[in-house]
């Protein structure tokens, strides 16, 4: 029996859809198993088609992106209603995504910068006709509705998608691996004694050695091992874009914890190495952090 699948896009970059398309010929093995009933990214279904489906009539619902507007929230709720198994597809859905970094500022400040003060804008105003209102902050979708499975990634690789879809289509559970990026990285690793941190453009990275050992902030140690260590493989420090290792409650806080243990320098020097801790220790999961939650609640109370 083919499974009915819906793929919904909230505010996102389309990268997860592109990753699915990037199965390329592999699509030919997946497509016969599924009946796509909703996928505006590539197929001409409209929102009202989804809304008019009977509840729980979709076997597997995949939600990409996070809630930046009330329309996103509505679509998320509709997907929950109509789907038996709801999957948080990509880090935007699991942890808020890169747009979660906007939570560092109030909504007024964000809107102001874009519509009122942008350098090339000649007649500022805040649009309000036929456009949905923004949410005060970006919250991870998993905080808004209940999900049945999570597939983090920025985007999840085509192989991750194939594994997840294969499991879900055959009714098996899809569990995240208890691995970090380091487990998938082939570089030579030493005991950690970092005397100095370098910014990524400084010097030349030795491709055979662990990047962290060389003093580059590679976050592979705290990041879930789903991607195959694609960035270290091309001599580039991991930025943690797939989110934390399983059971880690707050990615950036865990990274600080590890840095405290492995850096051998004066604390003041460590502090100076990271003038932007939020940007260095969070990337796609700031919205899921305690900091973001505290600020979200603070703003919510102030509004009352």
């Amino acid at each position: 029996m083919t499974k009915r699948i819906a793929l919904a896009q909230l505010t996102s970059c389309w990268g997860c859809d592109q990753s699915l398309v990037d199965l390329h010929l592999g699509l030919l093995t997946v497509l016969p198993e599924i009946e796509i009933v909703f996928w505006p990214a590539l197929v001409d279904f409209k929102l009202k088609d989804l809304e008019s489906m009977p509840n729980q009539s979709i076997h597997i619902g995949l939600v990409e992106g996070s809630c930046r507007t009330e329309e996103d929230v509505h679509l998320l709720n509709v997907m929950r209603e109509k789907s038996r198994t709801l999957v948080a597809w990509g880090v935007c859905s699991c942890y808020g995504g890169i747009q979660g970094l906007a939570n560092q500022w109030n909504l007024e400040e964000l809107v102001d910068r874009k519509f009122m003060k942008a350098d090339t804008v000649t007649d500022p105003r805040v649009p309000s006709e036929n456009v949905p209102v923004f949410t005060e902050t970006v919250q991870p979708n998993v905080d808004i509705v209940e999900f049945d499975a999570m597939l983090p990634g920025c985007p999840p690789t085509s192989n991750n998608l194939l594994d997840a879809l294969t499991a879900l289509i055959s009714g098996k559970p899809f569990d995240l691996p208890e691995k970090s990026v380091c487990d998938q990285c082939s570089k030579v690793k030493q005991d950690k004694h970092i005397k100095e941190f370098h910014r990524t453009h400084e010097g030349h990275i030795d491709p055979s050695k662990c990047l962290l050992d060389q003093g580059y902030l590679c976050l592979g140690f705290a990041t879930i091992g789903l991607c195959g260590a694609i960035c270290p493989n091309v001599n580039t420090p991991c930025k943690g874009c797939f989110g934390p290792v399983v059971r880690v409650r707050d990615h950036g806080a865990k990274i600080i914890s590890a840095l405290g243990a492995i850096s051998e320098m004066e604390p003041e020097k460590l502090k100076e190495s990271f003038p932007d801790p939020i940007g260095s220790f969070y990337f796609t999961d700031y919205a899921a952090s305690y900091l973001s939650r505290i600020r979200t609640e603070t703003r919510r109370k102030k509004k009352r």
Binding site: K254, I256, L259, G260, P267, K271, F274, I294, T298
Partner: protein
């Protein structure tokens, strides 16, 4: 559990031996709820000493004893703030005295990054504080607690606090 923590006292009646003067502004009836992580070997013993010596301390601390401040994951501090703690105090051994050699140094490194990150996120960095107090320094512990309470009173309650 440290004894001798008396009620209803402010820093006004305490000897001030450090150069740091506490603010005296008091925010209405606001009584801060402060979580204090104390390492077993130095600060917890110091707190105990403060109690048995009948040193007067404001009652606002909830103390969690850890073996070493090196055990403290920054997540604990953030979780406490997220749950509504008005402040988090971490009290450990002086550098060089750590029972596990360098746990407190790891704490110091974590702390400076954590505090900077709080500030960047728009949360008052003064809500968290790190101090060193040895087993013999009941007075230092007491003073640290007293100053902390004053600082937090001046900041006001944690906006997230549910009452």
């Amino acid at each position: 559990m440290p004894t001798g923590v008396s009620n209803g006292l402010t820093a006004a009646g305490q000897k001030s031996t450090s150069s740091q003067k506490p603010k005296t502004k008091v925010e209405g009836n606001f009584e801060p709820r402060i979580l204090a992580f104390c390492c077993n070997w130095c600060s917890y013993a110091g707190a105990d000493l403060a109690g048995t010596s009948r040193m007067q301390m404001p009652p606002n601390m909830r103390i969690i004893r850890v073996n070493c401040t090196g055990r403290i994951d920054p997540v604990f501090v953030l979780d406490a703030l997220n749950q509504g703690a008005d402040g988090v105090l971490i009290s450990g051994c002086h550098p060089g005295d750590c029972h596990y050699t360098s746990g407190n140094l790891k704490m110091k490194s974590r702390f400076v990054l954590l505090q900077k990150m709080l500030e960047e996120a728009g949360i008052e960095p003064e809500r968290v504080h790190l101090q060193w107090a040895s087993a013999a320094e009941g007075d230092v512990f007491t003073q640290g607690v007293t100053f902390m309470v004053e600082r937090i009173k001046a900041l006001g309650p944690n906006p997230v606090r549910k009452d």
